[in-house]
């Protein structure tokens, strides 16, 4: 599994494409070039980390179209949109769709490279979070239904007694559930448990809410 990040460049203009590779490779990054959005989609391997540099104006699938497709297919690769002359509506649309950056041609090489580096870093973080969440989720799935119910109430700040009363069981039973929960969730304490649960749930919210930033 490839861990070195790759910069994917999608531009219908071959000269621009080629010059971008020349530029990006100069800072030691791997570059993969695509003449169209479709080519990129056909070749995309989600396991490869990196970011996407996308020309907004292309025949066929335009940059913005591709961006939407990526969202639909829950491909969370950071996207840098390059435009000849961006107008405001276009920029808004791109940002709303979750573009990392919106760069206008001609651009400073430093700005582009910085954006690329930042995007790669974000991708790295996101990929880490993604793998954490998967781990927590896996631990949550070990819980029984009753334990899951109890955990939700714990995380909501209820005491064992309150939970027992609410569920109409013996508080000692709740205590036992808590103990199992902590064990199964590998949580040090309630605070830790809360964080784990939040991590798992907040991630889902961010995907649904089209929010621009990942919570750190």
């Amino acid at each position: 599994m490839k861990t070195e990040p790759t910069v994917f460049v999608v531009d219908d203009d071959e000269a621009v494409r080629d010059s971008l590779r020349w530029l990006i490779q100069s800072v030691g990054l791997d570059v993969a070039l695509f003449g169209s959005a479709q080519e990129f989609l056909d070749a995309y391997d989600a396991s490869v980390p990196g970011c996407l540099v996308l020309d907004v104006r292309m025949p066929g699938l335009s940059g913005l179209d591709l961006q939407e497709r990526l969202n639909q297919e829950q491909i969370n690769i950071p996207v840098i949109i390059v435009t000849g002359h961006g107008d405001v509506p276009m920029a808004v649309r791109a940002m709303k769709a979750g573009a990392a950056e919106f760069i206008e041609k001609p651009f400073s090489d430093q700005v582009l490279l910085d954006q690329i580096q930042a995007a790669i870093a974000r991708d790295r973080t996101a990929r880490k979070a993604q793998s954490d969440k998967a781990y927590i989720g896996e631990r949550i799935s070990r819980l029984t239904a009753r334990e899951h119910e109890v955990m939700d109430l714990v995380v909501a700040g209820h005491s064992s007694r309150q939970i027992a009363a609410r569920l109409g069981v013996n508080p000692k039973t709740i205590e036992a559930h808590r103990s199992h929960i902590m064990e199964k969730m590998e949580a040090d304490g309630v605070a830790h448990l809360v964080k784990l649960v939040l991590t798992a749930t907040q991630r889902q919210q961010s995907a649904e809410g089209n929010s621009g930033n990942f919570p750190e």
């Binding site: 203009d13 000269a15 621009v16 080629d18 010059s19 971008l20 020349w22 530029l23 990006i24 490779q25 100069s26 800072v27 104006r57 292309m58 025949p59 335009s62 000849g84 002359h85 041609k105 001609p106 651009f107 090489d109």
Partner: protein, 946 residues
């Protein structure tokens, strides 16, 4: 004679009689008349005499009767024929012997004439002798007379009977049949005659020598040959022998005499009477006595001189003949009658004729026949088989195959010959007549050709005698003149020549006859049979006839009535043309070759030159310098019959230096018998100026439109320009970073710099295109590829397509589409149509596509631009090409209007077709240009002034 004179009353008869006396028997008619007269006279006299006698000698009657009885007994008993004829030469009395001879009773014979009894010939002979008797002669005849179909010889004695006065009144004859005796006598006479003839006819000198007496007798030939006294003795004979032969001959004779042979012969030379010597062959039969001694020799000497000479001559002649035969340029041959196909002799020339040796033909009995061409063989065999009589020459012609396969024609003269009693054979000469045959065939062909030409000719042809009479006339001539051939051949040309032309024609004919010319040609009028006048071209040639025959003419008569009529029409038309041309307001030129031949007053006015000045110029010299070559080439090509535009506009320079535009129309015509070009020229300078002005307005308008279009394109163009600039920036930045990190080697740098240069040029090209598009430069007409122009427009449009997310599908005709055009303007049109389509598509969902197609159809290039937009309403469609009509929120509404003007200026059309469902298609056409005429077409573009 005197006695009968009184009887004849007419003086004419007297004359006749006198003449008859003079001419005697030569005039039979006269003789007959005379005889008749004499008979009559005698009868009268006899009657008178008898009466007197009866009266005077009554007493003597008794005595007379007795005598008469005796005479009658004798008369009746004699075996000879006795008869008495009267003056009419008719039998009046005849005896029984005569009756027996004819086997007829007396009454059948009495009164008959000699002719009736003996036939005409004998009768005439008898009558002749009778005449002598009547003249008083006693005639004795031996005469052969046919009796009952058999010849009898009679000895006849006829005596005249006279009366008392001595006049002959009849004849008495006695005829003895001596046929038998006569036959014996004749045999003897014949025998003697034969002997004489033989002895005289023999060529030999015959002698009979009594040796003992040394005496000899000789036949006349002997004397004739030698001497009258020849061979009187042995001594003479011996002396007459040529001295060189004498001893030999004498010895030979002595030896023979001494021997017992009965025959001796020797050849020797013997002296002739003239002193020369004859070559003789002497043979003698020796008669010996009982003791064997030669006592007599009968012999014959044959003169061999001629024989020897003939033999020598024959030998010489034979040698000559052989030399001749073997050197004749012909083959001589001999062949048996029963097998003429197998020659027994062939002269050596056969080798030259057929390539075969005589020997090979002798040795192969079928070879000769096989060489004769099968087609001719049967005919020849038939000719051979019909055996002609001896000596009658026969000629055969047939073909033979030469050894090499060539065919030769042979003419074979042959004759059946028989020498002595030998078998008849065919002797002949074969001539090679191949060349003659070929010539003959050629002649036949030539004659046939002449005959055919004569008869089939499209012109009238006649043979005319020196008196003008038609001797022969072909069908065409009869047709032309309207006469039947029979009628025409009864006429003279003078009879059917127009009265005004006869003298001229006859004079010409006499010139021919005088020999100073052989032919003449004239145009003349004939009067046709129906009285109409016909113009003809007559060509007449003299034909001299051989052997002083009067010369003839061959006349060729061509009906030129139509031509004459056409000439008249032409003159009339010419006059009309002149009148028209001189009054026409349009300029008119006629040029031929390179020279102007005619210019009308209007042409003078337009050019400012006088007609005479124009006619000194080459036809292209007045043209504007830019157009001279074009006009020169077209004018010359037109005269060569090539297809060049017949109407075009071109400027000229007038005499005072002004430029004037002319609308030229050219047409071919015949001028003074030769092809020429008629050009009419309308002065369109004013129209030209107006057009120019209008065109400038339009160009300005088009420019405005382009500026506007560019405005629409500006955003896209900026993006277009950003692309290469971005690339350049990236290359440069990447390179700088590598330099800083030291990771840039030279080969990489070279590659990058190349790429940077390429992008720089790309940016420059975009700038150039923009500048070109908006520059208000004058229209530039060139032959350009419409496909290229369309591609240029599409690349211009690309940014818009990308921005508006409209796909442009381009489908170009595979081959180049040469059109004469201002590329920018056409590009502008295509761009306008693309922009319109993009507008029409607007924000429509679905198929956002523009189809752009180029095609060739009927020498036109068609460009179509189809959109998938919302289509147009009927109202819009009607006004869509109006200027300042627009359905867009922005724009001036001049795009389509200008586009249409541009296309129409290019000689094309621009139209719209609405699709059934949605969207519209705009199409325009441009004429396909001929690449080779690039220069001229450009000129055409300029002259059209748009």
């Amino acid at each position: 004679m005197a006695a009968i004179l009184p009887i004849l009353s007419s003086s004419q008869a007297v004359t006749s009689l006198a003449q008859s006396g003079a001419f005697g028997e030569s005039n039979l008619t006269v003789v007959a008349t005379t005889a008749l007269a004499l008979c009559a006279a005698v009868l009268v006299a006899l009657l008178v005499y008898q009466r007197r006698t009866l009266r005077r000698y009554r007493l003597a009657e008794e005595t007379s009767r007795r005598n008469e009885d005796r005479f009658r007994a004798l008369f009746d008993a004699t075996p000879d024929c006795l008869f008495i004829k009267d003056r009419d030469r008719r039998y009046v009395q005849l005896n029984p012997a005569m009756q027996r001879l004819f086997g007829l009773p007396a009454k059948s014979l009495l009164g008959r004439t000699e002719e009736e009894l003996f036939g005409r010939e004998a009768g005439k002979r008898i009558r002749c002798s009778d005449e002598r008797v009547f003249a008083g002669e006693i005639v004795k005849d031996e005469d052969v007379r046919p009796v009952l179909g058999r010849e009898h010889v009679f000895d006849v004695v006829k005596v005249p009977l006279r009366d008392a006065s001595g006049e002959v009144f009849g004849l008495c004859g006695i005829a003895r049949d001596v046929t038998e005796r006569s036959r014996g006598e004749r045999t003897l006479r014949e025998s003697e005659e034969r002997y004489r003839l033989v002895s005289e006819a023999t060529g030999d000198a015959v002698y009979d020598w009594n040796i003992t007496a040394d005496q000899s007798s000789r036949n006349p030939k002997y004397h004739k040959l030698f001497a009258p006294d020849a061979f009187s003795s042995y001594g003479w004979w011996a002396k007459a022998i040529h001295p060189d032969d004498r001893a030999r001959v004498e010895q030979s004779l002595e030896k023979t005499f001494a021997g017992s042979d009965g025959y001796w012969s020797e050849e020797y030379r013997f002296r002739k009477e003239d002193g020369g010597h004859a070559h003789v062959w002497d043979r003698g039969f020796i008669i010996r006595d009982g003791e064997g001694k030669a006592v007599r020799m009968i012999g014959a000497m044959t003169d061999l001189t001629e024989h020897i000479r003939a033999r020598e001559a024959l030998q010489e002649s034979e040698a000559r003949f052989r030399a001749l035969v073997e050197h004749l340029p012909a083959v001589t041959y001999m062949a048996p009658v029963n097998d003429p196909g197998a020659p027994t002799y062939l002269s050596p020339q056969i080798r030259r004729l057929l390539g075969h040796d005589p020997e090979s033909i002798y040795s192969d009995p079928v070879l000769w026949r096989s060489l004769i061409l099968p087609e001719d063989r049967e005919r020849l065999e038939r000719a051979w088989a019909s055996r002609s009589e001896l000596g009658r020459p026969c000629v055969n012609e047939y073909r033979m195959t030469v050894a090499g396969g060539r065919i030769v024609w042979c003419r074979d003269y042959s004759v059946l010959v028989q020498i002595g009693r030998g078998p008849a054979f065919r002797q002949g000469v074969i001539l090679d007549v191949t060349a003659e045959k070929a010539a003959e065939a050629a002649l036949t062909e030539s004659e046939e050709r002449y005959r055919t030409t004569f008869e089939q000719a499209a012109v009238g042809i006649a043979n005319v005698g020196s008196d003008g009479r038609f001797l022969r006339a072909n069908r065409k001539l009869c047709d032309i003149l309207g006469y039947g051939r029979e009628e025409l051949l009864k006429l003279r040309f003078q009879d059917i020549t127009h009265a005004d032309d006869v003298d001229r024609d006859v004079a010409q004919m006499n010139v021919l006859l005088s020999g100073s010319n052989d032919t003449y040609t004239m145009e003349k009028r004939y009067v046709r049979r129906d009285g109409s006048i016909m113009w003809a071209k007559l060509t007449c040639a003299l034909v001299r006839m051989p052997r002083g025959a009067s010369p003839r003419f061959v006349s060729i008569v061509e009906d030129i009535t139509e031509r004459k009529r056409a000439e008249a029409a032409r003159r009339e038309s010419e006059a009309k043309f002149r009148t028209l041309a001189e009054t026409l307001s349009a300029g008119m030129f006629i040029f031929q070759g390179t020279r102007i031949k005619y210019a009308n007053p209007a042409a003078e006015k337009i050019t400012g030159y006088k007609r005479a000045e124009l006619c000194e110029q080459e036809f292209w010299m007045n043209a504007h310098p830019d157009f001279r070559e074009l006009i020169r080439q077209r004018g010359l090509a037109r005269q060569r019959g090539e297809a060049v535009p017949t109407r075009y506009e071109a400027p000229i320079i007038t005499k005072d230096g002004q430029t004037r535009w002319l609308d030229l129309s050219a047409a071919m015509l015949v001028y003074e018998g030769k092809p020429a070009v008629l050009v009419t020229a309308l002065d369109i300078t004013d129209r030209k100026a107006a057009e120019e002005k209008m065109w400038r307005h339009q160009a300005q308008l088009a420019h405005v439109d382009r500026l506007k279009t560019l405005g629409e394109l500006a955003a896209g163009l900026a993006h277009e320009l950003n692309q290469p600039l971005s690339a350049i920036t990236n290359y440069v930045s990447g390179s700088l970073r590598r330099i800083q990190t030291g990771s840039l080697d030279t080969p990489m740098l070279v590659e990058v710099l190349k790429a940077v240069g390429e992008q720089g040029r790309r940016a420059a090209e975009i700038i150039r295109r923009v500048r070109r598009f908006v520059r208000p430069e004058p229209v530039k007409w060139e032959i350009d590829d419409l496909n290229r122009i369309v591609r240029e427009a599409v690349s211009f449009f690309d940014p818009i397509a990308t921005r508006t997310k409209v796909a442009v599908q381009v489908d170009l005709e595979a081959s180049e589409l040469p059109v004469g055009a201002d590329a920018i303007q056409i590009e502008q049109v295509v761009l306008n149509l693309l922009l319109n389509s993009a507008e029409a598509i607007g924000d429509n969902d679905g198929d956002r596509c523009i189809h752009l197609r180029t095609r060739v159809l009927d020498q036109e290039a068609i460009v179509s631009v189809s959109d998938t937009g919302c289509g147009v309403s009927q109202a819009t469609a009607e006004r869509i090409f109006d200027p300042f009509y627009t359905t867009k929120g922005r724009g001036m509404g001049i795009g389509l209007s200008i586009s249409r003007s541009i296309i129409e200026d290019h000689g094309g059309r621009l139209w719209m077709e609405a699709a059934q469902t949605a969207g519209v298609t705009f199409l325009f056409s441009l004429p396909i240009a001929e690449g080779a005429l690039a220069h001229e077409d450009r000129a055409d573009g300029i002259r059209s002034g748009r």
